[in-house]
């Protein structure tokens, strides 16, 4: 839109309408543009971009912490020789379970940020009186947190893969070892990101106050997994009750990793429950989808 030359900024001091009103005859991109914008804006928001310095501390600190195990893993791989490489605790197989606590903290810090403010300050009224539909809002926010978490998790795993490629004797052997890992990494990371984000967002959508929401999310992830682990390991649970293991978020993550990469994982709950890891993986997918549905229903009904 062209600005007429006589729109002088300084002349507007304290008075209203000393300049004519301009209509807008340009393109109107409608609902899809609104969704895309809300998604990218929320994604940036998750990393504190456009929010000032303090908001960037938590997401970038957690991103750095998720990076650390990968760097250590690559270091052992490169410097430790064959024996060390065999005992390497940080391989793509185990990466997600190694950083599970950081995933939980990332969601704890960012899910309330994404949803709470719009509810607390009734900004939803302004969103829902525009081209955007209520479902679009839920989808954009869910997509943003899932993407943010996936980005945070993909970068270290990419470093792990590159480590495998370049630590090998020749490039061909390295690629041969690394390429089969790409698909399990992508699939398990996306499901894990969706599962953790979904649970966090659903809790945040029902608790507008940031501190309370964060408390509830961290309790869900840490306390629930602790309690379930104690029950499963100490409880000698009979058949229907051993499925309580499926309530442990970290067990779902471990089952997911075992299913995608094959082999064993470190989570005691999964091992001791005796349930097939694929059941845990399926459960993680179900929770990811169900939490999106709950989020959409919540925003369809929320008063705004």
């Amino acid at each position: 839109m062209a600005q007429p030359p006589d729109l002088v900024a300084g002349s507007a001091t304290g008075s209203i309408f000393d300049l004519g009103y301009q209509g807008y005859d340009g393109p109107r991109l409608g609902r899809r543009h609104a969704i895309a914008t809300l998604f990218t804006q929320s994604l940036k928001w998750t990393f504190g971009i456009g929010r000032g310095g303090r908001a960037k501390i938590a997401p970038f600190a957690l991103a750095a912490l998720t990076l650390l195990p990968a760097v250590i893993g690559v270091g052992i791989q490169a410097l430790g020789g064959a024996a060390a490489a065999k005992a390497n605790p940080v391989t793509p197989h185990q990466y997600l379970t190694v950083v599970q606590t950081f995933i939980a903290f990332f969601v704890t810090a960012q899910a309330p940020e994404l949803l709470g403010r719009d509810q607390r300050h009734h900004v939803l009224t302004l969103y829902f009186s525009r081209a955007l539909e209520r479902t679009d809002y839920a989808l954009a926010k869910y997509g943003a947190l899932v993407s943010a978490l996936a980005i945070v998790l993909f970068v270290p795993q990419l470093i792990l893969l590159l480590g495998i490629v370049f630590a090998s004797i020749d490039l061909g052997a390295g690629l041969g070892e690394a390429l089969p890992l790409v698909w399990p990494i992508v699939a398990s990371t996306i499901v894990a990101a969706a599962f953790f984000s979904g649970v966090g967002l659903v809790i945040a959508a029902f608790i507008p106050r940031r501190a309370f929401a964060a408390g509830a999310i961290v309790a869900t992830f840490l306390v629930l997994s602790g309690v379930v682990q104690v029950l499963v390991v100490q409880g000698r649970l009979r058949d229907p009750f051993r499925y309580v293991a499926l309530l442990d978020p970290y067990a779902l993550l471990d089952g997911l990793a075992r299913t995608m990469f094959g082999g064993v994982g470190g989570n005691v709950t999964v091992t001791r429950s005796g349930i097939d890891p694929a059941v845990f993986a399926a459960c993680a997918c179900v929770v990811a989808v169900v939490s999106l549905v709950v989020l959409i229903v919540r925003y369809r009904r929320i008063e705004a």
Partner: protein
């Protein structure tokens, strides 16, 4: 209903640029808003609350005031028009689009200024309004440009890079108006736009609304429980009470002359009334100093002049009595007779 010419953009009104040409963006024949037996019942104990009761009304472009007491159903009406709330029964259309099935398309071309505080304190006015412009479908650069424009129009230019948390109530109201205007809507829905403003802020907001309706060529529906405000800015009034339509008519018919003269004299009102009745006019004494005279033509004026001159009365003023918008509600509530002042 009002003649279509009123409230239109007038040529030469605007000071600047190529956009100074009048904008005729709505046609006269299609009602801007039309409802048919619109009913909204909020669920609750004892049958719930009936917010709108078979409201049927047509509203044409211009500056229209929607007036009613608190709880009359104004906000519910607006929210149904935006497609944010589904009516219990009946139907409503805005810009010829059905509110229940085409809500998204309506909201794309309608600006809404809610009654309550809806602004996040941590964002600047520029960031918020530009973001919301994009939420209305404007491309990014256009959203930024229009944000700067609109914030200047509402008188927030210097402060636009400061977080809203530090704004006064008046400034917040302006941000709310700006976000409703930023996508250049065809219709503006304003819910109690002067809420919480001091007298000068109120004047400025009303002036802003007036000019939005006349110079910008945007149709405006203003909700208020303050009749004085409606009288100042609107050219058509829709009055609702208890969710029902009381009356929908041009403002002039609410405030026009009643056909009665108020004659105020220093003393001797009884004598003056007696003289006028004797001369064949309908005159009644209204208090110790006032006489009400029914007028059909010019003759009573001469009679009043002659009578006061003959009796040597001090004539203070002669004034045509006018209807007031309040009368509407007073008439309606006569039955309840709280103060016994039957009109």
């Amino acid at each position: 209903m009002r003649p279509a010419e009123q409230g239109r953009a007038r040529p030469g009104d605007r000071a600047t640029g190529p956009a100074a040409a009048p904008r005729h963006r709505y046609t006269a024949r299609v009602p801007l808003i039309a409802t048919e037996s619109l009913t909204k019942r909020y669920p609750g104990p004892a049958g719930g609350v009936l917010a709108l009761d078979a409201l049927t009304v047509e509203i044409e472009p211009g500056i229209v005031g929607l007036v009613g007491a608190n709880g009359a159903g104004k906000s519910t009406f607006l929210r149904i028009l935006l497609g944010l709330l589904a009516p219990t029964s009946g139907r409503a259309s805005v810009l010829d689009l059905d509110t229940t099935t085409q809500g998204s398309r309506i909201r794309e071309r309608v600006g809404y200024m809610p009654e309550h505080d809806v602004l996040p304190p941590d964002l600047t006015a520029t960031d918020l309004v530009a973001h919301l412009a994009e939420m209305s479908g404007l491309p990014r650069t256009a959203a930024r440009e229009r944000t700067a424009d609109v914030l200047r129009h509402v008188g927030l230019f210097e402060e636009r890079y400061r977080p809203i948390g530090g704004y006064s109530t008046g400034m917040r109201q302006r941000v709310k108006l700006a976000q409703a205007l930023v996508h250049d809507p065809r219709l503006l829905l304003l819910d109690e736009p002067t809420n919480g403003l001091d007298p000068s802020g109120r004047d400025e907001m009303l002036d802003l609304i007036r000019r939005t309706g006349t110079e910008f060529g945007i149709a405006v529906l203003v909700c208020s429980h303050l009749l004085g405000e409606i009288e100042r800015v609107c050219d058509h009034v829709v009055a609702i009470d208890g969710g029902r339509l009381l009356r929908s008519a041009p403002l002039a018919s609410f405030t026009g002359r009643t056909g009665t003269l108020i004659v105020e004299v220093d003393e001797g009102a009884d004598d003056l009334a007696a003289d006028l009745v004797a001369a064949g006019f309908q005159a009644t004494v209204d208090g110790p100093r006032r006489v009400l005279v029914v007028v059909q033509d010019e003759r009573p004026y001469d009679a009043i002049r002659d009578a006061t001159a003959t009796r040597g009365l001090a004539l203070i003023r002669i004034e045509a009595a006018r209807h007031r918008v309040e009368d509407l509600f007073r008439d309606d509530r006569d039955g309840e007779g709280a103060d016994g002042t039957a009109a």
